[in-house]
Each structure stands twice: as structure tokens, then as C-alpha cells.
Amino acid sequence: MDLFEYQGKELLRKYGVPVPEGRVASTPEEAVAAARKLGGRVVVKAQVLIGGRGKAGGIKVARSPEEAGEVTDQILGMDVRGHTVKRVLVERAGDITDEYYCSFLVDRSERQFLGIMSAEGGVDIEEVAANDPEKITRVHIDPLLGISQFHARELVFGADIDRDARKEAIAILPKLYDAFVSLDASLVEVNPLVLTGEGRVMALDAKVSVDDSAGYRHPIFDELKTVHEVPEQERLAKEKGLTFIKLDGDVGIIGNGAGLVMSTLDVVKAAGGDPANFLDVGGGAGADVLSSALEVITSNSEVNSVLINIFGGITRGDLVAEGIIDALGRLEIKVPIVVRLDGTNAEQGRKMLADAPHEMLVTAATMLEGAEKAVELAGKGGE
């Protein structure tokens, strides 16, 4: 789960990382009140889970509480690369002498943690990595040993951080690392980490991603999640235990296992079709799950056919058939459903489907045949 800037900063503050004083606001009135409390100049920042808000006009300085209200009014509702702004962070503005980049993340290849630091902060770090790779310092950290002072020194001296900022930066890095580990984060990225006019070092932005699997030991994750908005269809799917992502085509896809579903999308595409979604019923799905999946898929009016591609492992073919039959009886399904069923209890399932004929039900012997049929039928439905 990605966290909003203001959420990430609140957490980092708990681990002793200095962040600017600020308050979140979801109306201009709240922004005015926040700016009044903070006093002086403030920065109003759009809270969205995507980069590029600065270029989109989502960050504005205000010299008075009234102005803070005005710019908040402009920012709220703004679209930043497909994300609608629902909240702003109102922060005390400060003088900035220099900007750096730093992050901690999991390096999957090395199966270690990685600290990254650069004196080139406040800019697109991927560009720095591409154009001036020597300006980026990486230090691996053994997960069992954890961070030592020398790691922090290697990052700070290696990145050639200004002399004035070194001591504080070296002190902050272990706190950031501590937050990274203690929060079960997969990423803690501060860009920029700034040196202020008063000679302080602080995190001016924060991108924190946490590991949902660790939610059981972080009750706060549920709380943070409440402000995360997901599209209605996705939310519904999630409630039913399904992984669903909407796409732009007209062939609805249901499968079990992310790899098989991705492969199904690929063969549908290769057969000349356009998948309408990604939907993984997961392992060991029962009849109710299949039935719900069909409900979610067919609620999309753009869908002209559905391909159900199940290879049973834990998932049982008989239960899959039961779910399909249930959905066909329960819902008013107006598009053809192509079913391809193999693996555990597949024979039994295929027999159940054969025994319950339905005008919209089509069976396929193989995955490729299923894809071809679904694409063909979608084409007809679309005409």
C-alpha cells in the first residue's frame, strides 16, 4: 500500500525524522485554519499517489491564510495524471539551501536492503541515474546486521553532501532506516531531503510504501487505508477476495492464479481480442467466488464475451462448474461465457456443465481454443 505524503511524514516523524510542521485539509476552510495555526508563509501540496503534481500545478505557496484557502480551492478536485486531488497538505514554508535525494528499499536481486543517496535532489532521480549515474551512491545493508553508522557515512560522504548538512544527514539516515524496517515498508523515499537556511536537515517530501502482508502487526495500516479510494468495481471485487483490474477491451477474463490470468490476457490479445479486465479468483476458490467473479465482470457493459480459464490445483473443477451454473441461473447474463476447465476434478466439472446447458455457455477444450472462441464471440456481440 502506497501512503499519501502526509501519512508518510506523520510516520517518519514518529521515528525522529525531522519533517516540516503541517496539517492536512480537505476543504479551503480547513486550509485557512491550518495556515492560521502554522503562521507565516505556507506551502499547499496536493495529496495524490502519483508523481508529477508539481508540474500539474498541485503545489503552491501562500503568504496568508486567505491565500492558502484560495490555492486550496484551486488544487482540490484537480486531476493529476488520472488521480483526483481530495486533500492538501498545508505546511510551514522555509528557506531551502540545498536539496538531496535518499531512499531505502528492498533490493530483490541481492536479497538485501539498499540505501540510495544523491546530492541531486528535488529532481527526477531516474533521470539522474540515467544521465549521471556517478552522482548516485548505493550502499547495501544486510537485513540481519541492520544499519551501522558507517553505512550512513558511506552514503553521505559518497554522495558528497555539503559539509554543513553532513552531520545531521548522517544522524537522520539511521532513523529513516529504522522507520523503513519497523513499518514493514518496501520503500521509504525522501526527495528532496533539504538543508534549510537555518542549517537544519529535514524531509520535505516522503513516499512510503508498506507491505500489506505485515498489516496484522500494524493496526495503523487499516486506519491509513480508510482514505484510499479505489474504483467501485475494484472495491467490490476485493470484498469478494478477487484481484481485479479494469482494462479497456471487451473480452472479460476470469482465471485462477496471476500468471495464468496474465497468460490468458496475452493469448486473447494474440487471437485479435482486447481484454476487458484482469481477474484472478486466487487459489482454492469455491462456487460462490466464481459466481461473484462472473457478476463483477458482467456488470461492465462494455464486455461482449467472457473467457473463464481455470486450471485446477487447489481450485476444484466441480466447484468452478457449480459457481458458473449458479451465476447463469442467478444473473441475467447476456454475453457468451466461454469456459475452459482442466486440472483437479475438471472432468467432473465439465460433466456438470454439459448436464446444465445454457444458451450463453460455450466450452473449449484448450486455452487457445477458448481464447479464439471468446474473441470471435466478442466480435459478433460488438457488431
Binding site: 526527495n191 507491505d211 500468471g259 495464468l260 490445483g313
Partner: protein
């Protein structure tokens, strides 16, 4: 021969008294796997359909000579279970459990890889390992597999079954099929498994099944080019997948790869590996090369 598991496997199941643990453990036993013990703290002395249960892995290994463990315990205690097996001298640990926090795995995998005694950890969040006709440890449906010369290693579950099924349909058997799982920090990656296949007498060709994300396929491609004589055929899922959301930019800096299916295909082909465009084509190419 086969790799990781086979006729010498003496399996213990951590969590054999649980619902899923007993279902799959006994299913593996029925397949012919030598299931010798279960471990559930506090239930030592009882049994599951004749398989003795012990309180600790150490007691189980001492009493039964178990050398392989399947982990089927809930996520909050799964890393502990893996460490326990390693500490007790288990050689192959196959962790099926899904949803273990990455921090737990980072610590666990580091410990296992740095130890004086290396244990092979497969998973977590994986379908397991099957050496057809010899042993099945995990949830791969044994009936789709058949004995033969093809090794298979995959990050995916059901997609593995699909490809194995296609191979079997074409009369091409498998030496061992290994699902390494899709977690951020797997116990074994493609290279760890390829290394074993390369040394295995039975394996004449290896199928590598990848998917989008990360750079495991790219690294495997480079490794194959440098180190492998056994031919490799690959399949990558996810050409049509929606671009994954990502926040922050550090990830791409690290791997230097975009993690797309196209990038992976390119890397594999650059290493001389043929990449099938769909699961059915995998078996066609394998048939051609064998």
C-alpha cells in the same frame, strides 16, 4: 536423479494438523512421497492418519530422519517455522504459505544463505516441487505430470500446471518442476534452481516460466549464457498486463530494468534462449529441441 526431492525425500510437514496442511500433506503422501512426520507445537505424541506429530522439528528429525520440510503454517509464524527447520538440519525447505511479510523473509533468507550449512529454501508463496513418479511436495496436481527429461522452473502456480499439462499431453515428461514463488524475496530464484538442473543427469532441457516485474528473468538469462550447457526454453506471461502502479523511483534505479515482458523476452533471446508466445508453443519448441 531429479533435483531437490526424489526417492530419498523424507518429508515432514510443519502444520500437518491444520486443515490445509493435512489435506495437501496426505495428498502428497498418497502420491508416493515418503511422509514421515508432522510438527505442531503442543500436539507432539498424536498422529494424523498414522503420521506421527512432534512438538519441534528437532525432535521430528531425530526420531524420523526427515530431511525435507513443507511449511504450511500461517504467515505470522511461517518465517519462524522455516528458521526452525534450517536450525534442525533440514536440507530442503518448501514453504507454501502465502502472505509472509517481506521483512521476515529478508531476515530469514539472509540467515539461510549466510549459514555455514546451506539449506535450499523454495518459496514462500509457491506451489511447491514435484519430481514426477518420485515425490510431490506442495500443491502441484500430480496427475498432470509425468516422468521425463524436462526440468521446469516457474514464478507462477497455475501457469506452471498449464505448461506441465501441455508437455504431458505431448508425451514429454518432467524430471522436476519447481515453483519458486512470486514473493519479493524468494528463498531460491531462477538461478539457484537452474544451477541444480545443470548438474542433474536426468534433466536434458529446462523450461523457464517468468512473468512481468523485477529482473529475475534478465539475471537468469545472463547466467544461462555464461554457465549452462543444458538448453533452456522460456515463456513470459504479461505482455498485455496493465502497467503496474508504482510510487517513488528507486525501484527502477536498482534493477536498471523496466521489468516488462518485452524487456525480459529481449534479454532471454539475447542469451540464445527461445521464448514461446503461448503455453502451447512451449511444448512445441521443447518437442523440437529434445
Amino acid at each position: 536423479m531429479a533435483i531437490l526431492i526424489g526417492n530419498d525425500t523424507r518429508l515432514l510437514v510443519q502444520g500437518l494438523t491444520g486443515r490445509e496442511g493435512s489435506f495437501h500433506g496426505l495428498r502428497n503422501k498418497k502420491y508416493g512421497t515418503n511422509l514421515v512426520a508432522g510438527v505442531t507445537p503442543g500436539k507432539g505424541g498424536s498422529d494424523v492418519e498414522g503420521v506421527p506429530i512432534f512438538d519441534t522439528v528437532r525432535e521430528a528429525t531425530t526420531a524420523t530422519g526427515a530431511n525435507t520440510s513443507m511449511v504450511f503454517v500461517p504467515p505470522p509464524v511461517a518465517a519462524d517455522a522455516i528458521l526452525e527447520s534450517h536450525d534442525a538440519g533440514i536440507e530442503v525447505i518448501i514453504a507454501i504459505t502465502e502472505g509472509i511479510p517481506a521483512m521476515d523473509m529478508a531476515r530469514t533468507v539472509t540467515h539461510l544463505r549466510r549459514g555455514q550449512r546451506a539449506a535450499a529454501l523454495i518459496g514462500p508463496n509457491c506451489p511447491g516441487v514435484i519430481s514426477p513418479g518420485k515425490a510431490n511436495v506442495g500443491i502441484i496436481p500430480g496427475e498432470v505430470c509425468t516422468e521425463g527429461p524436462v526440468g521446469l522452473v516457474s514464478r507462477s502456480g497455475t501457469l506452471t500446471y498449464q505448461i506441465v499439462y501441455e508437455l504431458t499431453q505431448e508425451g514429454i515428461g518432467q524430471s522436476t518442476c519447481v515453483g519458486v514463488g512470486g514473493d519479493p524475496i524468494p528463498g531460491s530464484d531462477f538461478i539457484d534452481v537452474l544451477e541444480r538442473f545443470e548438474k542433474d543427469d536426468l534433466t536434458k532441457l529446462v523450461v523457464l516460466v517468468g512473468e512481468i516485474g523485477g529482473d529475475a528473468e534478465e539475471r537468469a538469462a545472463a547466467w544461462v549464457k555464461e554457465n549452462m550447457r543444458t538448453p533452456v526454453v522460456a515463456y513470459i506471461a504479461g505482455f498485455t498486463a496493465p502497467p503496474g502502479k508504482r510510487m517513488g523511483h528507486a525501484g527502477a534505479i536498482v534493477s536498471g530494468s523496466q521489468g516488462t515482458a518485452a524487456a525480459k523476452k529481449e534479454a532471454l533471446e539475447a542469451a540464445g534462449i527461445r521464448v514461446a508466445t503461448n503455453p502451447t508453443e512451449v511444448s512445441a519448441i521443447v518437442g523440437e529441441l529434445l
